[in-house]
């Protein structure tokens, strides 16, 4: 009975310390300042957090309730991503594999096609293969919890990238791009390009996807402050390029007066940009989110205003590095939940973007 409050106390303490580290590192300002009780002295607790954590071993590890997970026994890191037919996820898989090999691991990369059931099978496969660690861009915030727990029970630590799950203390790290900040940042650039007025349309992503709403809400938090910007159409194009193209054509038929289109991702934005080119409309300001090379080429030609780069290569490297730290030292030294800021890409800095890496 006595042990539980003590553990909770340690968890809270380490969470506070880790949050301090985060805000010192320039992570998302919003959650850090709202959750950390003493944001002013963030630099001070940051130092002891990283140095003291390995010394006090298990108890100080942010997510661990008990001794650190030893790994399955082999030297293999499993990398699970959604379909690799998307350049974004492909970059994740490639970067993780490269980093894992660089750190002396064997890397095995698989895709679960956003199917929680096949993801669950892949977790079983990793457990049977005695994986040292699992890096996963997961297939569902709730559906994934059980699989991660299963790996945990088998002594295998899981590091989640790109998407969170709805439970903490199961995975060791959850490193995600700050979609909210990124969408808001590029929306600001778009408002400027629009001259703060005009009618526009929005292409939403898959409406069952959390990111679809996070991005749309962030767009509107910025855009709705300007009363002269009026949304006249809002449609889902399911993250898809052909749908982005055909829906844009339909919207242009109905609302030829629009001068802007905001898109939940770059794939739809590229479809929209192509539809505008075909319709001879070079006056329409388009933005997306992701930071893909396809979008970059439209930005360079002036057919898109910008995109928000989610630094998925950086996130992937961080995850593998933290997996390595954890396996060697029993702790990652940082908090479980970490937000990595997006970078607004416009014609001003698009030349520094290549394969989801920003060489600023």
């Amino acid at each position: 009975m006595k042990k539980i409050p003590y553990r909770n106390l340690m968890k809270i303490a380490s969470a506070v310390l880790a949050l301090g580290v985060m805000s010192a590192c320039g992570g998302s300002p919003a959650p850090a300042s709202s959750a950390a009780p003493a944001p002013a002295s963030s630099a001070a607790p940051a130092a002891p957090a990283s140095s003291a954590a390995p010394a006090s071993s298990s108890e100080a590890a942010p997510a661990a309730d008990s001794a650190p997970l030893p790994g399955g026994g082999s030297n293999i890191i499993y990398i699970l991503t959604p379909s690799t037919s998307n350049a974004f996820f492909k970059t994740e898989a490639d970067t993780c594999s490269a980093k894992a090999v660089e750190l002396g691991y064997e890397a095995k990369a698989f895709s679960h096609d956003d199917d929680a059931a096949s993801q669950s099978d892949l977790f079983d496969q990793a457990i049977a293969d005695k994986a040292a660690a699992i890096i996963c861009d997961n297939a569902g915030a709730d559906a994934t919890i059980e699989a991660v727990q299963r790996a945990r029970d088998a002594g295998i630590p899981t590091f989640l990238i790109d998407r969170e799950i709805n439970q903490s203390g199961v995975a060791i790290s959850q490193i995600v791009a700050n979609n909210d900040q990124g969408a808001a940042a590029i929306a600001e650039a778009w408002v400027e390009a629009m001259g703060e007025k005009g009618k526009y349309a929005e292409l939403l992503g898959l409406e069952t996807d959390t990111n679809c709403h996070v991005r749309s809400d962030a767009f509107h938090r910025v855009i709705d402050q300007f009363p002269d910007l009026e949304m006249v159409a809002q449609q889902s194009a399911n993250w898809d390029q052909t749908e982005g193209y055909s829906k844009t054509e339909a919207i242009l038929q109905q609302n030829p007066e629009i001068t802007g289109i905001i898109c939940g991702n770059d794939t739809m934005a590229c479809g929209a940009a192509q539809a505008c080119i075909d319709a001879g409309r070079d006056d329409i300001k388009i933005i997306g989110v992701d930071g893909s090379d396809d979008a970059a080429s439209y930005i360079k030609k002036g057919q898109m205003v910008g995109t928000a780069l989610q630094q998925c290569a950086l996130i992937s490297e961080m995850a593998v590095q933290q997996a390595d730290d954890y396996l060697k030292n029993g702790t990652t030294g940082v908090d479980e939940k970490q937000l990595v800021d997006c970078i607004a890409i416009t014609s001003a800095n698009v030349d520094k973007l290549s394969a989801f890496v920003y060489n600023g």
Binding site: T84, S85, S236, Q254
Partner: protein, 349 residues
């Protein structure tokens, strides 16, 4: 005597209405959306509609032939993706012969022909698996569906070929022509018309078409009366593969990009258009005109609701309801047909 005649005329009248039901639905939808949305009924909206319908309309023409033989082709969506990747890759990267150490670039007509040929080869494989190896069409084409999708992703290791325009110096520009317009009419829509006319001719005016219907109507009877059932079945799958490759080319040309996941689940739209057009899933009967009308019904629902700002979720629900309703009426028509045939026989006796 007169009473019998009026009754017969009435049934004839009902039959006519039933046969033209999809067309009636199309007209009703057009009127509905024109009232709901003053911008809807215009030349530019209709050409846009034809351009969007062309993609799954052409797929549905191939699918109609397959379904008339009481088969199904689930691989067409994946072939759309694969064809786009092959054509896009040949324009963007050329073909590298590793043993010779050279990269060859082909002109667009050659690439288009090669891609269409590839579609035919996949159709041939489907047909051979279905006939010579006696695998059920659903399973055989399910297999090739996965294979083609996988190959499409392998072609670029998952990446998108973007900005497909070709290079003047390499002499491979011009793919955009397939996605452009001639005199305000999209090339896709013109191709849809060409495919529809040729398809209707093949199905109605030459022995090949009669054999297709015979194979689906009664496989055994067709065989006994000397129809080469295997050959007809294989040809039908080749036709479907050819249509799918064409759609892949048009889609790639319109987007100026090729994505391995393109065409995902488009086979469902093609099947829906075919069924809406009155082709029976059990084979034997169906018309190209019906399929085209069915494709336009789906197209009007999609574009009309998008232009009216109806949510994607409702669009799906309504599309589903229309398909089920169409099949229910189809069944009613068949029952009435059987009843009328019986009536005629009773009278002649």
């Amino acid at each position: 005597m007169d009473a019998v005649k009026t009754k017969k005329d009435n049934s004839k009248m009902i039959m006519m209405l039933l046969k033209g039901r999809t067309f009636i639905v199309l007209i009703v939808l057009l009127i509905f959306f024109s009232i709901a949305n003053p911008n809807f009924l215009s030349f530019s909206t209709l050409t846009m509609l034809a351009k969007h319908v062309a993609l799954y309309g052409i797929l549905a023409i191939g699918m109609t032939f397959v379904i008339i033989t009481s088969g199904i082709d689930l691989s067409v969506g994946s072939v759309v993706g694969l064809a786009g990747m092959i054509a896009g890759g040949m324009i963007q990267e050329g073909v590298t012969l590793t043993f010779a150490g050279v990269t060859l670039y082909f002109s667009v007509p050659v690439i288009v022909l090669f891609t269409l040929l590839l579609g035919c080869v996949i159709g041939l494989i489907n047909g051979v698996i279905v006939t010579k190896l006696s695998v059920a069409p659903f399973i055989a084409t399910l297999g090739t569906m996965y294979i083609c999708r996988g190959l499409a992703s392998l072609r670029s290791k998952g990446a998108t070929f973007s900005n497909i325009a070709g290079n003047e110096a390499l002499g491979n520009v011009g793919i955009k022509a397939l996605g452009s317009s001639i005199a305000g009419i999209p090339v896709g829509a013109i191709l849809l018309l060409v495919f529809a006319v040729v398809g209707a001719y093949l199905l109605r005016n030459i022995p090949f078409g009669w054999h297709v219907q015979a194979v689906g109507g009664n496989n055994r009877a067709a065989k006994l009366s000397g129809v080469n059932v295997d050959r007809i079945t294989i040809l039908v799958y080749i036709l479907s593969g050819f249509c799918a490759a064409m759609v892949g080319l048009i889609n790639t040309a319109q987007l100026a990009a090729a994505h391995p996941a393109s065409g995902d689940s488009w086979e469902m739209n093609a099947i829906a258009a075919t069924v809406l057009g009155g082709t029976s899933m059990s084979g034997g009967s169906g018309t190209i005109l019906g399929t085209i009308v069915g494709a336009f019904v789906i197209g009007v629902i999609n574009d009309g609701m998008t232009m009216c700002g109806v949510s994607e979720f409702w669009q799906k629900v309504i599309r589903g309801l229309v398909i089920i309703l169409a099949v229910i009426i189809d069944q009613a028509q068949r029952k009435l047909e059987a009843k009328m045939a019986l009536q005629v026989r009773n009278e002649t006796n």
